[in-house]
């Protein structure tokens, strides 16, 4: 596949159960529309997102990975998201070493009441990944 206007990226979303998953549900109940490119995975906290899971997603064919957690200070487990915040830059530097554009992984905060914002973030990220084009399969990373 090559980067083209009709390239539909596949995106994996790790959504923390408390804020972001609820926010995503709210986008649904409010019938906000966004591109259907992201397959959501529920985790208890963004702090659960082990970098190796992100690498695996990219290796298995995801073109981008979105990690969504509660806003800083709002994490259901106090500071799980602070740990994510520290982990993601490290992960990005690893990605660079593998030759993967770090922009393919994004961390965002979406609260349970931000259905609109959730849709916006997914929309935005989808378009960004679409512009980046498909991700080359890197079999060896995960």
């Amino acid at each position: 596949m090559s980067a083209s206007a009709d390239f539909e990226p596949t995106i994996i979303g790790f959504l923390c159960r408390w804020c972001s998953y609820t926010g995503a549900d709210l986008a649904g109940t409010s019938r906000v529309k966004y591109p259907p490119n992201m397959i959501p995975l529920k985790v208890m906290c963004s702090g659960r997102v082990d970098p190796s899971l992100v690498l695996k997603a990219l290796a298995d064919g995801a073109d981008g990975v979105l990690i969504l957690g509660c806003h800083p200070g709002d994490c259901h487990y106090h500071e799980g998201n602070h740990k994510t915040m520290r982990r993601v830059p490290m992960l990005k530097s690893v990605l660079q070493q593998y030759g993967i554009d770090p922009a393919r992984v994004r961390l965002e905060w979406v609260s349970a009441s931000e259905g609109d914002r959730f849709a916006e973030v997914v929309h935005d990220f989808t378009e960004e990944i679409r512009a980046l084009g498909p991700q080359k399969r890197v079999e060896s990373v995960a």
Binding site: T22, V32, R48, L53, G73, H78, A112
Partner: protein, 788 residues
């Protein structure tokens, strides 16, 4: 949910995984955008799937029965329902599985409604997405293991932190149900903010008349133990079994002995002072500065000299010294400061020989002023803001006092900053007069350990600090006061006896009430404080009831949502109150026209007229934003609950679990959760009580098994995980050099799992293998393998 049942299908006898997939139409909610039949066909072809079906409403009884029949008929040992969000119906389907004998954790929900059919209109792509979601669930569920919900016993005793109206209401409800309550209140008395109010909106009923009976019932209830002047120092344990240590501050009065007679505060000579005071004789200051930090004492002498000898005037103090010497006696004998000396000059003519020397030893306690029969001695607490700020209190203004005369418990406390004994070791009057010998100056702080099964937080709110908001002049102009100050000014037992007076003691002719000070303002708080409009309207009514005067309300919008609130607003509009739609920008005392001379000028843009207005008034009342209590964050950490962006405690769900929190067994009620009026605070207090009583009545609490488990054969003892856990659930077993997890404390965030470099920690229900399988399913590896 009964989890003890299990048909042993977890892994069937031959280890075969048999998944049943059920795709819901949800009427047209799903079926209109997702081709349900197509998804079923797709699911049928997935590995391990024994049966795939669709149904109109899976959550309905027939829908659930469909699953239950198939569990028996098709020997299913895994179930996937593709329907709405698991936050909606996961418990329903888990229960259905359990009833059919399948361990409820062998179930997985695929959300194809909220996160699929409802968020796109593109049918082919929605169907495609639904397939991915279903495949991820099927792939994951194969790796699910049987888990057991754990039951922990619940201690009946309840801890309530904060004795405002919300906490009191909850305490009474729980205690009436026969369960023991410990009510911890930081202040010397329970009652909270409401105890300082005169009247309450919208009914204008007297606050004390409705609150005092409740306070008294709480004080007398045999199931309620009040710990006032106390705070929660630490909390450990978990739902059902919390260990709490309560720190009891030094009150210096033994609450077991005191009978509340009040002799001590009648006799106490020390007058409460704020930061800076001036004590003078006939207008000449001999003590100036901060009483608490020690001020500057000057030498002053006054002589009788040529003055005529005057008789003491009892009824109307003249303000002239008659050289009676009472002050000197008080100072030496009571205070022990020996700062005032009365001398006789034997050589002088009779009647003219006395003099009073203030020798510079004064500590500024004010005891002498109390003894002076003529008013020659005066103490002014020389903050700029006299009438209103000093003695801004409802109880007696003494070093030993109760916060209000209706205090519960009716036990005084000594304020060390004002008490003479704590200043120079003198006085000791109160201990002498106390008939119960309840007063002891060397009382120590005490720590009490209690065990409780649940905790309710009802610590209420603070109002925003007005001092930094210089544009409104609070702290600069005497007659700019805050809402809470107005409540006291208006209160029958306040410093003016309920009269509305300016700092100079005269009634105002015009008053401006400024809404939204710090609320709905991006520089301070974004939120609406919800009660300010209503109490501002209440203030307008009270001012007009008490003084002949013009009242202006400066508002952005009037928010009168509540039972009887709009009606109250209408009523005020008929009461000749001038409403100016515009947020006040500043308050100054710079006149720009003759009628502004000597006035405070409120400047605002009137958005209805579209022009800037300057309104000169005598008094300004600010309606400051309600904000989270100082220290709320620390308390939240102690309790393992969260605070939202604005610092208020976070409820578990804003709509469906408003009094529960993230921590099981910890509840919130009242204005500590968000700004609230009294009716809502009471409703929440009662709701929390009902939640707590149902927990107690059940007797046990089921803990979700989504916890961390450590594989000790893999753990290298590096301890990386230990500091990661926000709940201290992980600790190191020194002997075996491995990490151990106390599963009753673990809340299952999974942070440690993602951290462990050895992969030794797994989170039940979210194991690495399960998430990896889910990823593979989501991304299509599974399809590839099924095609093989």
């Amino acid at each position: 949910m009964d989890t003890s049942k299990g048909n042993g299908h977890g892994a069937s006898s031959n280890g075969e995984i048999r998944v049943g997939v059920y795709v819901c139409h949800c009427g047209t909610n799903i079926a209109a955008t997702v081709d349900v039949a197509e998804v079923v066909r797709f699911a049928e072809g997935l590995p391990n799937v024994a049966v795939a079906k669709d149904y109109q409403f899976m959550c309905s009884e027939p829908g659930q029965e469909l699953i239950q029949q198939d569990i028996t008929e098709h020997k299913l040992n895994r179930v996937v329902v593709a329907a709405c969000s698991p936050l909606m119906h996961e418990p329903t389907f888990r229960r259905a599985c359990a009833e059919a004998g399948l361990n409820p954790f062998l179930f997985q929900m695929a959300n194809i409604r909220e996160q699929c059919s409802w968020v796109t209109t593109d049918k082919p792509r929605a169907t495609e997405k639904a397939k991915h979601i279903v495949r991820a669930a099927v792939s994951r569920v194969a790796l699910h293991a049987e888990l057991q919900v754990r039951e922990v016993p619940v201690n009946e005793r309840v801890l309530i932190i904060g004795g405002g109206i919300a906490g009191i209401e909850a305490a009474l409800q729980i205690a009436d149900a026969g369960k023991p309550v410990i009510l911890v209140e930081r202040e010397p008395s329970i009652g909270g903010r409401m105890a300082t109010f005169d009247k309450t909106f919208p009914t204008l009923d007297c606050a004390a008349c409705i609150l005092t009976p409740k306070m008294v019932s709480a004080g007398q209830h045999r199931n309620i133990d009040i710990r006032s002047y106390a705070e929660v120092a630490s909390v450990s344990g978990h739902v059902g079994q919390f260990q709490v240590s309560i720190r009891r501050n030094r009150r210096y009065v033994d609450d077991k002995k005191c009978n509340g007679c009040g002799l001590c505060y009648q006799e106490c000579p020390a007058i409460v002072s704020p930061k800076s005071r001036k004590v003078s004789i006939e207008g000449q200051p001999y003590f100036v500065g901060s009483y608490a930090e020690g001020g500057e004492a000057r030498k002053v002498t006054i002589r009788q000299g040529d003055r005529e000898r005057r008789k003491p005037i009892k009824d109307t103090p003249t303000g002239d010294c008659i050289f009676c010497g009472k002050c000197a006696t008080a100072c030496s004998e009571v205070v022990g400061a020996h700062a005032i000396v009365l001398r006789r000059d034997e050589s002088a003519e009779a009647g003219k020989q006395r003099s009073l020397e203030f020798n510079g030893n004064c500590i500024g306690c004010g005891a002498c002023v109390r003894e002076c029969p003529t008013g020659a001695l005066t103490v002014t607490d020389a903050q700029d803001r006299q009438v209103l700020h000093h003695e801004m209190m409802l109880g007696p203004n003494k070093a030993i006092r109760v916060p209000t005369l209706q205090a519960v418990p009716n036990v005084p406390f000594i304020d060390e900053e004002t008490c003479i004994h704590f200043r120079n070791g003198g006085c000791g009057h109160c201990a002498e007069v106390c008939p119960q010998e309840a007063i002891s100056y060397d009382m120590e702080e005490a720590i009490e350990e209690v065990e409780v099964g649940s905790i309710l937080v009802a610590t209420g709110f603070d109002t925003i600090d007005l001092a930094p908001m210089v544009q409104y002049g609070w702290g600069r102009y005497d007659n700019v006061i805050s809402g809470l100050e107005f409540e006291i000014l208006c209160h029958a037992s306040g410093s003016t006896g309920g009269k509305i007076l300016k700092a100079d003691g005269t009634p105002p002719k015009s008053v401006a009430i400024l809404h939204c000070i710090g609320s709905r303002d991006e520089h301070y708080h974004e939120h609406c404080s919800r009660v300010c409009c209503m109490y501002s309207l209440k203030f307008a009514h009270l001012v007009r009831e008490k003084v002949e005067c013009d009242v202006y309300e400066f508002y952005i919008d009037i928010r009168a949502g509540g039972k009887g609130y709009e009606e109250f607003y209408k009523r005020l509009m008929r009461e000749d109150v001038t409403f100016i739609r515009g947020k006040a920008a500043e308050v100054t005392n710079w006149p720009m026209s003759p009628e502004e001379e000597g006035k405070l000028v409120v400047k605002a843009e009137d958005t209805l007229l579209g022009q800037i207005r300057r309104v000169p008034v005598d008094m300004v009342i600010l309606s400051p934003a309600l904000q989270a209590r100082e220290g709320a964050q620390t308390l939240a950490q102690t309790l393992g609950i969260g605070c939202g962006g604005e610092g208020f405690f976070l409820e578990r769900h804003p709509k469906l679990a408003p009094v529960q929190t993230a921590a099981d067994g910890v509840y919130v009620a009242g204005a500590c959760q968000s700004p609230k009026d009294i009716p809502d605070s009471v409703a929440q207090g009662a709701a929390a009580a009902a939640n707590i009583l149902s927990l107690i009545d059940k007797g046990t609490f089921s803990i979700e098994p989504v916890v961390a488990v450590i594989d000790e054969t893999l753990c290298g003892g590096c301890r990386t995980c230990i500091n990661m856990c926000p709940y201290s659930a992980l600790s190191a077993d020194e002997e075996r050099n491995v990490a151990v997890c106390e599963s009753a404390l673990c809340k299952g965030c999974g942070t440690c799992v993602a951290t462990c470099p050895a992969g030794a920690i797994q989170q039940q229900g979210y194991t690495d293998a399960q998430i990896r399988a889910e990823l593979e399913g989501a991304l299509g590896r599974l399809a590839a393998s099924s095609a093989e």
